[in-house]
Amino acid sequence: MKTPYLFDEFFAANLEESVSPFLTSRSRVWGKNLSLKSAASAATLLAFGFSFSFFNPPISYMCLSLVFFLVGTPALLAAMDDLRNLEINIDVLMTLAALVCVLIGSGLEGALLLVLFKLSHALEDLVSKKARSALANLNNIAPKFASLLDNDGVAFEKSVKEVDVGALLIVKQGEVIALDGIVVKGASSLNLVHLTGESFPLHKTIGDTVPAGARNLESALVIQVTRKSGDSTLTRLMQLIMQAQEAKPRLQYFIDRFGKRYATTIICLTFLFAAAIPFLFAISYFGSEGSIYRALAFLIAASPCALIIATPTAYLSALSSAARRGILLKGGITLDALNSCSMIAFDKTGTLTTGKLACVSFAPISLKPACGIDEALSIAAGLEGHVVHPIATAICALAQERKCEAIDIQDFKALPGFGLEGRVAGMSVAIGLPEHIAPHLIAGIEAKRKQGCIVAVLRIEQDFFLFQFSDPVRKETSALLEKLKDVNKLRPIMLTGDHRQSAEDVGRLVGIEEIFANLRPEDKLTKVAELSMSGGLAMVGDGVNDAPALARATVGISMGRIGSAVAVDASDVVLLNDDLHLLSWLFSKARHTRRIVKQNLCLALAVICFATMPALFGLVPLWMAVLLHEGGTVLVGLNSLRLLHKK
């Protein structure tokens, strides 16, 4: 049977044409970033129109017609839609101002207004598209169908939506568990990195509960379903992200509200002035000194062109500067949010630590073992070389580091969920869980586990060796935290799902005193919400379990390389090179951006105040009002460009 088409991306993208399943794959590229493409084409045509206006007006008008078609038609449609919903906002005001420009013979100004307006909207679209893909990625992790066992023990596939509680699922090696359940047959290790961000494998055997989304690393498991797909761990995570995204404070709400009031006021005032001025002063309605002409000049002068580009251009420059340093920010609003932060919370595994298991100790347990430590390591590497497992990777890396070559193993056998065994030169060798390899030594080993270490035991005949693994702290993390405290005045906090002991060890090493350990994804979300009540909180994380907290925090910051796709999408900032040291620069840049935005807003408002009232009283002619208006726009744009500097 042919591979089914995956419709999820299409529906997640709100039926967007660039991912339409009906279009040929080569043709879809025509629909990508159409808004931005049409704005760019319109800007080019406007430049031509402006150039030709000096020596060949008909060509200039032809170019302007195309500009009005490309950016004016969508603006007109949007304005009509708003008016139909009895809503007067900046969209309506801009469209009206552009139309008025045409009516009074200032088509170029009208076109410029529309092109700038379209550009800012196109950039907004790009940002919101990225935000939408968070849920699509989480959806990709979730299996769409499960393998069930019937009464005769024969496996068959069924949509996860149709699987009832009590059904038996078979999950083969390498597969992702489709639904929450209890293991009823088999034993294996599960990797929960997609769910918890922790890369350590967890051993699961009969009677243990297993969550949907975990990957089965070793042998087949039979699982009895305990929750339907609508109540599964993955679905709950998706709901948490949605709630968090909706609950997030957005400066945009304020801008929209302000825009609506501003537009309504200006339009009402325009009509009022046009109608009332002849009653107050001895001037007529029509003519170049008439009230209608003055009211139109007032409308154009009051068009918030500079006001509209005051923030996006500053944000865009800061975003470009950040991108050049390997920081991806999802929208300029993130910069505002960064400014409001007084605390910064870190996830432990993968953020403060490297997220990769490393062997920190390898020593004999037996007093006088028959073989040397290097030979034992070679045997361990020989055994682990047969499997793919984080512990195996760490042992092979240690052997490579100490230049111990892996020894060939005869009669190799994997005991899923327990370990590996074989023979070397007639000796029986085994490696794996202490409970299986050395049950009589378990009491002594348990103390190491309580300290947060992962352990494995190697047996060579009657001699035993102990491997201890942990997740090492990233280099220079403590220097970064000092800088964040001293320069950026941020309070560092650690939020982790790990044991308190290992969290405190890492906290001591990097200099974090405020530690919250043993947190499940929902606990992290609650803690983040609680901390956010007392001030702005930036959250740095990498796992799927961090995703709800990243989405809920004032600013979510994720690691681009090691971070899960869901965490990256749920966050507002992505450190593409996983370089935490850029955090201090980012907070400083955000402060600089706020200063520039404030300057821009003051400048734009000053120009509007200076041009509108004199235009109304006939002191500023129309061309002067347009010049002041556009001049203000250019100044605001140039001021924003200062943010492009890397420093």
């Binding site: 049977m1 089914p4 088409y5 995956l6 419709f7 999820d8 299409f10 529906f11 039926l15 044409e17 339409s20 399943p21 009906f22 279009l23 040929t24 794959s25 043709s27 879809r28 590229v29 025509w30 629909g31 159409l34 769409k144 169908f145 068959f156 596939e157 069924k158 949509s159 939506k161 149709e162």
Partner: protein, 244 residues
């Protein structure tokens, strides 16, 4: 019987759905060619014919009339390109509406969709346990089920259509190509060459379309040329009657 079937049997409902699918996917240029090819061929034919008719009407007037024809074609170019894109977008909107409706039905009327699928495969000759197994396999994965319902129930084909703007680009190439070829007849070559060039463009467009559709080449070209000649003659004689 479930209200979803509106009083009909499952198979009758499937037939009705397929008609809906055909309406949604109807090729806007009247052929089964990928959109940009049909748009280009269609636009080239029409442009050549319009220029021929204008030449027939105004050929005894001054040279300005020739420029008039090309100024007219500029406006026609914008219309043709815009129309092709608009029709393409309209079709895409219809198709997207259909896919959304089908997805809604799969989510909310799963049982009825299963019945429809059963009826479809029973009509194909499946029966008994094999039929149940086929239906269970198809129902196991929602992506596969949606694709199956779109293709089998509604008769739609995925990844078949070209983007509306690509179609519009095809129309642009068609109009520009035909206009450039015809301009040689109008301004460079002897007067009679306008007819030859117009027929050449019409024949080439019709021939390309026939070739891509695997239709018979000669009848297609002759029919198109015949219609072109008829249109030019009618315009010529009408001009003789009404403009003199």
């Amino acid at each position: 019987m479930h209200t979803h079937f509106k009083g009909k049997e499952a198979l009758a409902h499937v037939i009705e759905a397929r008609e809906k699918g055909q309406i949604a996917s109807a090729e806007i240029h009247g052929t089964e060619l990928p959109g940009h090819y049909s748009a280009a061929a269609d636009a080239a034919k029409e442009t050549a014919l319009i220029l021929l008719v204008l030449w027939v009407i105004f050929r005894e007037m001054q040279e300005e009339a020739h420029f008039f024809a090309f100024v007219f074609i500029l406006g026609y170019l914008v219309w043709k390109v815009g129309r092709s894109a608009i029709l393409g977008y309209a079709r895409l909107e219809r198709l997207h509406r259909v896919i959304e409706e089908e997805r809604w039905e799969i989510t909310h009327h799963r049982g009825q969709e299963k019945e429809e699928l059963k009826a479809l495969y029973a009509a194909k000759g499946f029966s008994g346990k094999l039929l149940d197994e086929v239906v269970d396999v198809l129902m196991a994965d929602d992506n596969r089920l949606l694709q199956e319902m779109l293709e089998e129930e509604l008769g739609l084909r995925l990844e078949t259509y070209e983007h509306p703007l690509k179609q519009a680009a095809g129309a642009l190439v068609g109009v520009l190509g035909a206009a450039i070829i015809m301009s040689f007849g109008f301004f460079v070559l002897p007067e009679w060459s306008v007819i030859v060039l117009a027929f050449l463009v019409i024949a080439l467009s019709a021939g390309t379309t026939a070739q891509l559709e695997k239709n018979k080449l000669l009848p297609s070209m002759v029919w198109n040329l015949g219609i072109g000649a008829l249109a030019a003659s009618v315009a010529y004689f009408a001009a003789q009657i009404f403009l003199r």
